[in-house]
């Protein structure tokens, strides 16, 4: 399919795919602030995310067919140390594909939920903020310039705060949640930029690839190590690495349902991508301070995240909070995979990243459907929905099983890969903890599924009331993807393996 797109694409699309992927939504976003009605804004946002999706496919094809596996684009034709370089390898191509796919599905399904939750005069502006956020996330993933990454990170974050705060129409607690997120997110971005300042002081360049070539002789330098620490904490905050995740549960529970779905599947993923880019491409995993950071910081924190937050999820009564805590736990799996420091571990972490985007996207989309028709998110509100909304809830159940890691679902495949990677390094106790955390997932998702399928409805007058078709189609695309990639995992696993190889450097590329 990618070959067909490469053949059909005109020459300008092939040579300018990288900037167009980001700039088309970024150009259309201010336009949405000018259009009169939300419905037009919705259609334009579908078009913008669709175009970006096509360019992401083109970029993936270009990276896979390129002999060195890198697509580089000089903005304004300024040569590399001076200008901003957009640099796409297998790692970013994968992340771009995830973000644009989820963005497209999210904007298709968004209209019914936006009508229900956002006041009429704010709808067009809401879509404008969504497109800015989408463009910013893509920009973070596409750029090869450390400072440009900061700019895009702030573009996406600031619009995210707005999107979260717009949940105040449904629940006033969205406002403190957004403010909390703003403070934490700004702290994270400041730490990141301080770290970049240290690296710039040591190397004199902001291009990530150039920094990586200059660093080996400076690895003992104190300012490089300080920069590493700041970047780790800053991006860890953005990626909701335990214990820096305190902003996440509230932000996910009170924002508009569409925003929750989009953010859960993209925002932390992109921050985690940036972290991986710095850990593996800019810094090398064989530097002494990074090895100790892996074993003394990332691995314990990843394990703590998946155990502690799974426990916290068990005791929640609101389905969205269960899923939010589960998200932090899943970030823990990814961090654990990354912290092994091997290609296998990194590819397992990235594979789980892809799968988690699919399952959390489907779960939050189903929750959005329930909020739309039944206006409730506690487990009690979910009781008996298996009978009144069978399509929505079957998709929810598939994604939930995938989250637990039941065989024949995508979640099982990535946990299996994570287990292999851990066994390779003799970390059998960590495998045990992964299994234990999966049992906790059985409990917290089981509570919801039990209510959905085996309890009588709270209100017996709730007759058969399905979510609208516009929501069911993307939901089922994601749910079936969970099943399909659980059986034939070649495509995402291949992407993750290429991405891990690319992260380790060009010389390791295939």
């Amino acid at each position: 399919m990618i070959d067909a797109i490469l053949n059909a694409a005109p020459a300008w699309a092939l040579s300018h795919a990288a900037p167009l992927l980001v700039m088309v939504p970024l150009f259309l976003a201010p336009l949405l602030a000018l259009v009169p009605t939300g419905r037009i804004a919705w259609l334009i946002s579908i078009a913008a995310t669709g175009i970006s999706f096509l360019f992401a496919l083109i970029l993936l094809g270009l990276v896979q067919t390129s002999p060195i596996g890198v697509v580089s684009y000089e903005v304004g034709r300024w040569p590399v140390p001076l200008g901003i370089e957009l640099r796409v390898d297998a790692l970013n191509a994968m992340i771009l594909l995830i973000v644009t796919t989820i963005g497209l599905l999210a904007s298709v399904f968004s209209w019914p939920t936006v009508v229900a939750e956002i006041p009429k005069r704010k709808r067009a502006l809401f879509y404008s903020a969504f497109l800015v956020c989408f463009a910013g996330l893509n920009g973070v993933a596409i750029t090869g310039d450390a400072f440009n990454l900061f700019v895009f990170l702030e573009i996406s974050s600031i619009s995210t705060y707005v999107l979260v705060a717009l949940g105040s129409g449904r629940d006033r607690r969205a406002l403190p949640a957004a403010f909390n997120y703003l403070i934490m997110g700004t702290l994270g971005a400041s730490f990141y930029i301080i770290g970049i300042g240290f690296l710039y002081a040591a190397t004199g360049t902001l291009n990530m690839y150039q920094i990586s070539t200059l660093l080996p002789e400076l690895a003992g330098h104190r300012s490089v190590q300080a920069g590493f620490a700041f970047i780790l904490v800053g991006l860890g905050l953005k990626a909701a690495m335990w214990p820096l995740h305190q902003w996440l549960p509230n932000a996910y529970s009170y924002s508009p349902t569409f925003v929750t779905m989009f953010l859960s599947a993209t925002a932390t993923k992109v921050a985690l991508y940036a972290l991986i880019r710095f850990l593996f491409t800019v810094f090398r995993p064989d530097y002494g301070f990074e090895i100790s950071a892996f074993s003394a910081i990332l691995m314990p924190l990843g394990i703590a995240a998946m155990v502690v937050c799974s426990f916290q999820a068990v005791f929640q009564t609101d389905v969205r909070r269960i899923l939010a805590y589960s998200s932090v736990a899943q970030v823990g799996y990814m961090i654990l995979g990354v912290s092994i420091g091997t290609t296998a571990g990194l590819s397992a972490g990235l594979f789980h990243l892809v799968n988690h985007a699919m399952m959390k996207g489907a779960l939050f989309m189903a929750v959005a459907g329930v909020v739309l028709t039944y206006q409730g998110t506690t487990i009690r509100d979910f009781a008996g929905l298996g009978r009144s909304a069978p399509w929505t809830m079957t998709a929810f159940a598939i994604a939930a099983l995938s989250l637990i890691g039941v065989p024949l679902t995508a979640g099982f495949q990535s946990k299996l890969q994570l287990g292999f990677a851990l066994f390779d390094q003799g970390l059998w106790w960590a495998v045990g903890l992964v299994v234990f955390s999966s049992f906790l997932a059985v409990i917290y998702m089981g509570r919801v599924l039990e209510a959905v399928f085996f309890q009588p409805p709270v209100n017996p007058r709730k007759t058969r009331k399905e979510a609208p078709v516009l929501l069911l189609v993307p939901l089922w695309i994601l749910a079936l993807a969970n099943l399909y990639f659980g059986i034939a995992a070649d495509f995402p696993l291949g992407l993750a393996r290429d991405a891990a190889a690319a992260a380790f450097g060009v010389e390791a590329f295939r």
């Binding site: 900037p19 201010p30 304004g76």
Partner: protein, 150 residues
């Protein structure tokens, strides 16, 4: 009219506002070959309107420069900036490659000049629009819960 004890303030402000605006444009057009540029000029223009709002009241300022206009101005500014990039791309260059704007050989700088002026114009609109929108959002805010209701 003896009750108006702000008369000096009003007269001076009325005198200053056009000067401030003119200074903003000086900074703007000085920006491509010296210190200054769109960001500073945008802030100075916004300051002129904010001074008007401080002295004559926010409602009067909102009548003169409506919030819808400031919001649109910010959006248009971003589109001008991005549009210059797309223009360069349509002429066959890279994104934001000023040299490609008029298909010039190296050594001629007409495209560089026009390109940076267009960008600065976009920044001017974007920054002044955003500054005023933020100001209106704070200044025009009415408390949702009245003090008596606490």
């Amino acid at each position: 009219m003896n009750t108006d004890h702000h008369v000096i303030l009003r007269v001076i402000a009325k005198m200053l506002i056009p000067v401030i605006t003119m200074f903003a444009f000086y900074v703007q057009f000085h920006g491509d070959f010296g210190p200054g540029g769109g960001f500073q000029a945008g802030v100075i223009i916004a300051v002129a309107v904010i001074l008007y709002a401080l002295v004559f009241g926010v409602p009067a300022a909102m009548r003169a420069v409506p919030p819808v206009f400031t919001r649109s101005l910010a959006a248009v500014g971003v589109m001008i900036y991005a549009g210059v990039g797309f223009w360069a791309m349509l002429q066959g260059g890279h994104y934001l490659e000023y040299q490609a704007l008029f298909h010039e050989p190296p050594g001629e700088h007409h495209g560089q000049h026009i390109g940076i002026l267009g960008i600065e114009l976009g920044v001017l609109c974007g920054v002044s629009g955003a500054m005023l929108t933020i100001f209106y959002a704070f200044a025009g805010r009415v408390a949702e819960i009245r003090d008596e209701d606490w």
